[in-house]
Subunit: 429 residues, 2 copies
C-alpha cells in the first residue's frame, strides 16, 4: 500500500541531519599524502618566520651608518671581508666600512643592519682584496626580512578543519610536520537498488537501464573527501537485501542506497529501515528534485535512501551527505558555499516547492551569471556533467526572468557555507 | 660571475613553453578510479537516453483517447490489467478502458500513450478485478519520458579532455564504460636545491630554514593532476647534483628544481642545464614574484628551475607547469581560468613588472571582490594557504585603489582559460 508521507522544508531536513552529525577521528599521515585532506588540529607557528633577520636579495650586508656621506659624486668604498651563502653564517665582527657578500635568504651578520643590492654597487679591487663602491645612503633596516615579519611564533596559521591545499602543505613543512594530523576519511558504503538496473558492463535490454547513480555517488563521496565502498546491487529478495545492508553497515561509517525510494510498491528500503530499528528522520522533503530523499539513523550511523533519479540523487547527496562528511572533517562551514548570481536565461516554471537547478557559472566582467545546464528534467544525467552550481529557487515563487538575482550553491569550492538556508532570495531584480 | 639575464614578458614565456607542450598518453582505468582524471576520448552516446519511452512517475499507463469524456462529474472507469515494475515489460495488448499500473522508470506498454499519476486516480474494485476512476482528460504523450529525450544516440556528451566529475562518472556508467580511457598522469619529479634547507623532520638551526617548497610543489603537482615524485635535496657538489638530475630525468616526464635559480653565485642549476645540453627557453621573466624562473627542455622533457621563494615558486608552477600538464590531459583550456574582480583593498605599489598577488575571492551580491591574502612579500608562505586566486596587475601601472576592476586567475577551478594573457586589464574603474 502507498504510505502517506509528510514533506518537510529543506532547511528542517538539513537541520535534523546536522543535529546527529559528529566530528570525526584523527589520524596521522605523511606530509606527502596530506594534500586534499583536512587538518585535525590547529596549525600553530612554533617559531618566528623568518626565524632570523635575513637578506631578501643577493647583495652586500653593511652597517647603514657607514653610507651617511655616500653620493654619486662621492662613492664610499667598503672592504668585502667575507661571503655568506644561504644556510651559512658569518660570525666574525664586521667593522666600519666593511661589507659581507650575502646571498638571498642568508642570515644577516650581527653587526650589519642593511643590505645593498648587488646591482647597486660597483665591484673593484683585487681578488684577495675585493672592494665595492656605494653611491647612496642606506637606512638601518633597508632590505632586510626581519625575524617574525611573516609570522610570529604562536600564530594560528590554519585552523582545525582547514583544507590542505599546496599553501598549507608548505606551512606544514615549514613547521616540521613530517606526519600531519588529519581527519580520518569516513567510509561510506553504496548499495544500488532497483530491478531495472543493469551493471555497467552488461548489454542494454528492453526496459532496463545501466546503473549510473552508484558510480556518480562513489565519485561524489570521493570529491567530498570520504572513502567510497561499493556493495553492488540489491537482489529482488527482502531477506537478502536486509542481510546485505547489515553486512555493509558493519563495515562502514555511513551507508547510501540509491533508487528504490519512490512512492512505488516495489521498494524494500523503508522495510529495511524498519527491520533495522532505524530512526527515520524524514522521508519526504518539500523540494524538487529529491522529494523522496529519506534519511535514517541507527547505532550512530546514517543510512540514506537517495532517489533513483540521477539529479535527485545528486542533490540529495550534496545537501544531506556532504555536510555530514564535512562535519567529520571539523569544517566550520560544512555546507555548499552559497552566493548570488544573475540568471542568464529565463526560468518560467513556477516553484510550488524549493527547486534546485543544475547550472553553470559564467563571469561577465566581475559579475556572476548562472545558466541552467541542459534540460531540467530530473532524469537527465547529461546536465550534471556540465554543472558547477545549483540554482536555488524557493518554493512559492512564480518563475524567474533573465537578469533576476538568484541564490546559487557552488559545487567546485573548498570554502563552504556555515548555513546557506537563511535568507534564500525570493525574487527581485 | 654574475650572468646577465634578459627578462621576457610573461606571455612570451608561456608561449615558449606551450610551443613544446605535448598531448599525453592514454590509459584505461576502472570506472571506480576515473573520478578526478581527464577523458582521453570524446564520450559519445551509443544509444538514446532514455532508450525507450518510460514513465517518470508511479501511476497508470493508459490510452489517452479513453479519457476524452472524463470529468470530475463523470469519471471514467478503467480496468487494471497488470503492472510493470521498473525493469520489467508488459507485452500483452492493452485494450480500450484498460490501464496498467506502472512504476517510475518502467517502459510504457506499446499500446499506451499517456501516464496518469497515482495521486490522480481513485482505486476501487476487487483484488482480482482492480479498477480505477479517472476524472480528467489526458493528451497523447502526457507524463512520458520519450526515447532520446535526454540524449540522442551519437551526441558528444563530454569532450576529450573533460574533467571527470561525478556527473561525467554517471554518463560513463550509463554508456557502459567499465574501463575508462583517461589521460595518463605525467610523472613530475621534484628536487630541492639550496644549502640553507633542512629536511622537514630536522630541528631548526641558525641560518637555516626547512624545505617547504618541495612539499608545496608536490601538492601542486597532485592538484594539477600529475603524479609527483620527490628526489630529495641536492648535495653541495656539482657532479653529485648532475648525477641526481640525470637519474631523476630518466624516471620522470618532467623535472622541477626549486631554489637555486637566483642571480647568486652558489647556483648549480644553470650549469646543470649546460651539462645536459638542455635548451634554456628563458631564465628571466618581467614579472614579480618569480622573475628568475628558468625553463629548459631536453630530450622532449621540460626541466624547470623554479625560484626558492615560496610565492615565486608557486606562481612559476601555476603559470608554466600546470598548462603543460593540462595539455597532456588534452584540455582545450589548459591555463588558469581568468576573470575579473573588484579590488577589495588599495594596492598602492607601482608595478614596473607584471605582478601576481596571492588573493582571496569573496562575493558581494553577485559580484566578485578580491582581497590580497596577507602580506605581499614574496617570501611569505602564510598568504598562500589562504589564497584561491592570483590578482594580475600589468607592468607599467602605478598602483590600484579599492573598487578598481582587476584581472584574477582562479586557483580552485576545473574549467580553465584557453589563453588568459590577452587583454589584461590596465587600470580603470
Amino acid at each position: 500500500m502507498v504510505e502517506k508521507r509528510k514533506p518537510i522544508p529543506v532547511e528542517d531536513a538539513v537541520n535534523k541531519v546536522m543535529d546527529l552529525a559528529k566530528k570525526g577521528k584523527k589520524e596521522m599521515v605523511p606530509i606527502e599524502e596530506a594534500h586534499g585532506r583536512y587538518l585535525a588540529e590547529d596549525l600553530i607557528a612554533d617559531h618566528d618566520v623568518p626565524s632570523f633577520d635575513r637578506s631578501p636579495y643577493d647583495g652586500f650586508a653593511i652597517r647603514a651608518e657607514d653610507t651617511k656621506n655616500a653620493s654619486s659624486d662621492h662613492p664610499v668604498t667598503f672592504e668585502v671581508v667575507g661571503e655568506i651563502g644561504a644556510g651559512s653564517l658569518f660570525e666574525d665582527k664586521v667593522k666600519p666600512f666593511q661589507a659581507v657578500r650575502i646571498m638571498t635568504g642568508a642570515q644577516l651578520p650581527k653587526d650589519c643592519d642593511a643590505v645593498v643590492m648587488l646591482e647597486l654597487v660597483k665591484e673593484h679591487g683585487e681578488k684577495d682584496n675585493p672592494l665595492i663602491d656605494i653611491k647612496r645612503t642606506f637606512q638601518k633596516g633597508d632590505n632586510i626580512s626581519f625575524q617574525g615579519e611573516d609570522t610570529k611564533k604562536g600564530t594560528v596559521l590554519a585552523e582545525k578543519g582547514s583544507y590542505i591545499n599546496p599553501g598549507v602543505s608548505a606551512l606544514l613543512a615549514t613547521f616540521g610536520y613530517k606526519e600531519v594530523p588529519v581527519a580520518a576519511k569516513p567510509v561510506v558504503g553504496v548499495i544500488a537498488t532497483g530491478s531495472e538496473l543493469l551493471e555497467v558492463e552488461e548489454e542494454l535490454v528492453p526496459g532496463k537501464i545501466r546503473n549510473s547513480n552508484a558510480y556518480m555517488v562513489l565519485a561524489q563521496i570521493e570529491k567530498a573527501g570520504g572513502q567510497a565502498e561499493y556493495f553492488g546491487k540489491f537482489e529482488d529478495d527482502f531477506e537478502a537485501c536486509l542481510q546485505v545492508t547489515k553486512e555493509a553497515l558493519s563495515k562502514v561509517d555511513m551507508l547510501i542506497t540509491t533508487g528504490g525510494v519512490s512512492v512505488g510498491d516495489y521498494d524494500y528500503v523503508p522495510e529495511i529501515f524498519k527491520a533495522l530499528g532505524a530512526e527515520v528522520l524524514f522521508n519526504k522533503i518539500a523540494m524538487r528534485p529529491g522529494s523522496v530523499t529519506t534519511v535514517a539513523h541507527t547505532d550512530g550511523k546514517f543510512i540514506y535512501g537517495l532517489s533513483g533519479n540521477p539529479s535527485a540523487c545528486y542533490v540529495g547527496f550534496e545537501l544531506f551527505v556532504r555536510p555530514v562528511l564535512h562535519t567529520a572533517f571539523y569544517r566550520r562551514a560544512p555546507h555548499l558555499r552559497k552566493t548570488k548570481a544573475a540568471l542568464g536565461a529565463d526560468f518560467p516554471k513556477p516553484n510550488p516547492f524549493t527547486r534546485f537547478i543544475r547550472a553553470k557559472i559564467e563571469y561577465e566582467e566581475n559579475k556572476l551569471l548562472v545558466f541552467p545546464s541542459g534540460l531540467d528534467k530530473s532524469g537527465v544525467v547529461t546536465s550534471l556533467a556540465a554543472a558547477d552550481a545549483l540554482i536555488v529557487l524557493p518554493g512559492g515563487t512564480r518563475g524567474y526572468e533573465q537578469g533576476m538575482i538568484v541564490d546559487v550553491l557552488l559545487l567546485e569550492d573548498f570554502q563552504g557555507s556555515e548555513w546557506p538556508w537563511t535568507n534564500i532570495v525570493q525574487s527581485y531584480r
